[in-house]
């Protein structure tokens, strides 16, 4: 029996979700041109500050985490041979 096909099983639908996200992001970025942000710190008022910061922060986060993994990752049984000693 064929298993039920779910909406997200179709690659074209995943693509639709992604395109939706891109459009949403573009729209949100454009609101900075229309809406003057009430800000406490000066940098908050810059065009696209929150958008760029969110994007860059996540890219840095992931790339730095990859480097961190090189430093701290160990096999699963790393402690097991030592705990009992």
């Amino acid at each position: 029996m064929m298993e039920k096909q779910y909406w997200l099983d179709k690659p074209s639908n995943v693509k639709r979700v992604l395109v939706g996200l891109y459009l949403l992001c573009a729209g949100l970025l454009l609101t900075d041109a229309l809406h003057h942000r009430h800000s406490i710190l000066q940098m908050e008022g810059w065009f696209g500050f929150y958008s760029v910061y969110g994007f860059v922060a996540c890219v840095i986060l992931v790339l730095a985490a990859k480097e961190l993994r090189k430093l701290v990752a160990r096999p699963k049984d790393y402690y097991e041979n030592n705990d009992d000693q």
Partner: protein, 563 residues
């Protein structure tokens, strides 16, 4: 009508009485106990109750003010939700220790002095350890031992600090304490251990993922939030907390990205969220402190919800690693939806609970001119959405379909998650009831156009980064590895140091014995050479030699006497 029963007592008596009912009803009996406790709590009002005189000190079991009332309410709600989530558990040990643990936390919140706080602090430490041991595996056994050691250390520091504080001030009152005294510093570190300060946090990410699926829900609610309460009570406005908090908000998110065990990912995000609260307490303004305690309130609910959803996954599939999961939305759609509510709340999406509390701390940081701290917290806000908001649901429920076909968890689990989700949405959409319970007056409006837009931009662009990194293959894949953290200090370095010290002591001891043996052999040899069969003293001497020796001695005597 005001109740005459201290809230903790209902839990403790209930923990004993549930053994009167058959095993299969004990979960429900526990739930009844927590509901009775909630009812009892509802009848309480602000004031100081249940004082007991011990020697020359007055112990207070019921100091109820705005701050303790809020945490008391939170802990009662958390106890009901977590107990409902674990109603199906047929394990008397967990039934007993869950109630003792919740009761201990509630007793500690209402403690008016440091001795009472210490007693409940230790009850919590011991009871919660059994929730780790209840997994009954060799690994959880060892983890539980490590966890207990850390918790007891924190208790001892608290006791030593309380004694020193008493000596210096003559008071054991659990109020604001000067961190620059010895007693204050010891108490600060005791709270800091339970609060998972940087480098003191290893126990949390070590133990929480090792507890039972239901045990972790209890653990996530009480210990760390009690520590937040204790810091807010004793050390508001302590500047170092701002930087400790910002560090706590930052560093765990890097670990969370590369961690495979999804409950450990949540443990890291827990430290990240506590970081916001600690920072708020350090800032010390009314807005910041309101933000810290309201965020603690919301955090217990959305973090419980996330731990419950992962607990449900573990319960139904027996798996919790990102490498083994994926595609579960097909067989667990309700759990998926509830998890997404928790994920949206922790990420502080508009209309979800994190949005109305975390932002108070951010605004306070900006208003106080801490621009760098503000940027750190903003980075951490984007990061938490990345790992808790997207990674958890993505790797468990979406992503690569691992082919697991299961069912939704038992109804009690679903209802418990739904209640927590209800609180997350309610507090997010209508924060005013929560705000009315806060210790200080609230002059804060979370739903301004600027706030909604800027937060949406931050979050959706974080999502965009995730999507682009994922589709481009740059995102680090989940791997069956563990990551070294500060628990390495005692699990590996400490152990090595003990081994090396033991070897050194053995070596030095052996050398000492050898030297002693050699010396003794020399002495014995010397005596032997003098008195042995061939020794000088054993020779047969002629009478003439004897006469010469006697003459010499007499001559010497005469010289000494007359000289």
């Amino acid at each position: 009508m005001i109740s005459n029963v201290p809230p903790f007592l209902i839990f403790f008596i209930g923990a004993c009485l549930i053994f009167l009912v058959p095993q299969r009803w004990r979960g429900w009996a526990s739930l009844l106990v927590t509901l009775l406790a909630l009812l009892n709590f509802a009848s309480l009002s602000h004031g100081t109750y249940w004082k007991v005189q011990v020697l020359e000190h007055s112990l207070t079991f019921g100091r109820i003010d705005t701050l303790s009332y809020l945490f008391g309410l939170l802990f009662h709600i958390a106890a009901v939700i977590a107990t409902l989530f674990s109603v199906h558990v047929r394990d008397s040990l967990q039934n007993l220790t869950s109630l003792l643990y919740a009761g201990g936390a509630i007793g500690a919140v209402f403690a008016g002095d440091l001795i009472t706080l210490f007693v409940f602090w230790e009850i919590m430490a011991i009871a919660s350890t059994f929730l780790v041991w209840a997994r009954r595996s060799a690994e959880s056994n060892r983890t539980g031992q490590r966890y207990l050691l850390v918790q007891i250390t924190s208790g001892l520091l608290l006791l030593a600090g309380a004694a020193s504080h008493l000596g210096a001030t003559g008071s054991i009152a659990f109020n604001q304490i000067d961190v620059e005294t010895l007693g204050g510093a010891l108490i600060f570190i005791a709270f800091g251990i339970k609060c998972a300060f940087p480098l003191l946090h290893g126990w949390l990410v070590d133990a929480y993922p090792q507890a039972t699926p239901t045990g972790t829900v209890f653990l996530s609610a009480f210990t760390t939030k009690l520590a937040v309460y204790a810091l807010a009570r004793s050390f508001p406005g302590t500047e170092v907390l701002i930087y400790l908090g910002a560090t706590m908000a930052m560093f765990p998110i890097f670990y969370a990205v590369i961690e495979n065990d999804l409950r450990r990912v949540l443990s890291y995000s827990m430290i990240n969220q506590i970081g916001f609260m600690v920072c708020g307490i350090g800032l010390g303004t009314e807005l910041a402190l309101n933000g810290a305690v309201s965020h603690a309130f919301n955090d217990v609910l959305f973090k419980s919800l996330l731990f419950m959803s992962m607990g449900a996954v573990l319960h139904m599939t027996g798996r919790i690693n990102g490498t083994d999961l994926g595609g579960l939305y097909k067989s667990m759609p309700i759990t998926t939806s509830l998890c997404i509510v928790g994920a949206a709340s922790i990420s502080a999406f508009p209309l979800f609970s994190g949005f109305v509390s975390k932002s108070m701390i951010m605004v306070a940081a900006a208003e106080e001119g801490h621009a760098v701290v503000f940027l750190f917290l903003l980075f951490a806000s984007a990061g938490v959405f990345h790992h808790a908001g997207i990674k958890i649901p993505y790797f468990a429920f979406f992503g690569h379909d691992a082919g697991i076909r299961t069912r939704e968890p038992p109804i009690n689990m679903l209802v418990a998650m739904a209640i927590a989700a209800g609180f997350c949405i309610f507090n997010g959409c209508y924060p005013w009831i929560l705000y009315s319970l806060l210790p200080w007056e609230v002059n804060y409006q979370p739903y301004t156009m600027s706030h909604v837009i800027s937060q949406s931009q931050l979050l959706f662009f974080s999502a965009l980064a995730f999507a682009l990194l994922m589709t481009s293959g740059l995102y680090p894949p989940e791997m069956r590895l563990i990551n070294l953290d500060s628990d390495w200090l005692h699990r590996r370095l400490g152990l090595r140091l003990i081994h090396v010290s033991a070897r050194m002591i053995t070596f030095v001891w052996a050398r000492c014995l050898r030297i002693l043996q050699d010396s003794l052999e020399k002495v014995v040899g010397g005596i032997h050479s003098l008195t042995g069969p061939r020794g000088v003293l054993a020779r047969t001497w002629t009478t003439g030699t004897g006469a010469i020796w006697a003459l010499l001695l007499l001559g010497l005597y005469l010289l000494v006497y007359y000289g």
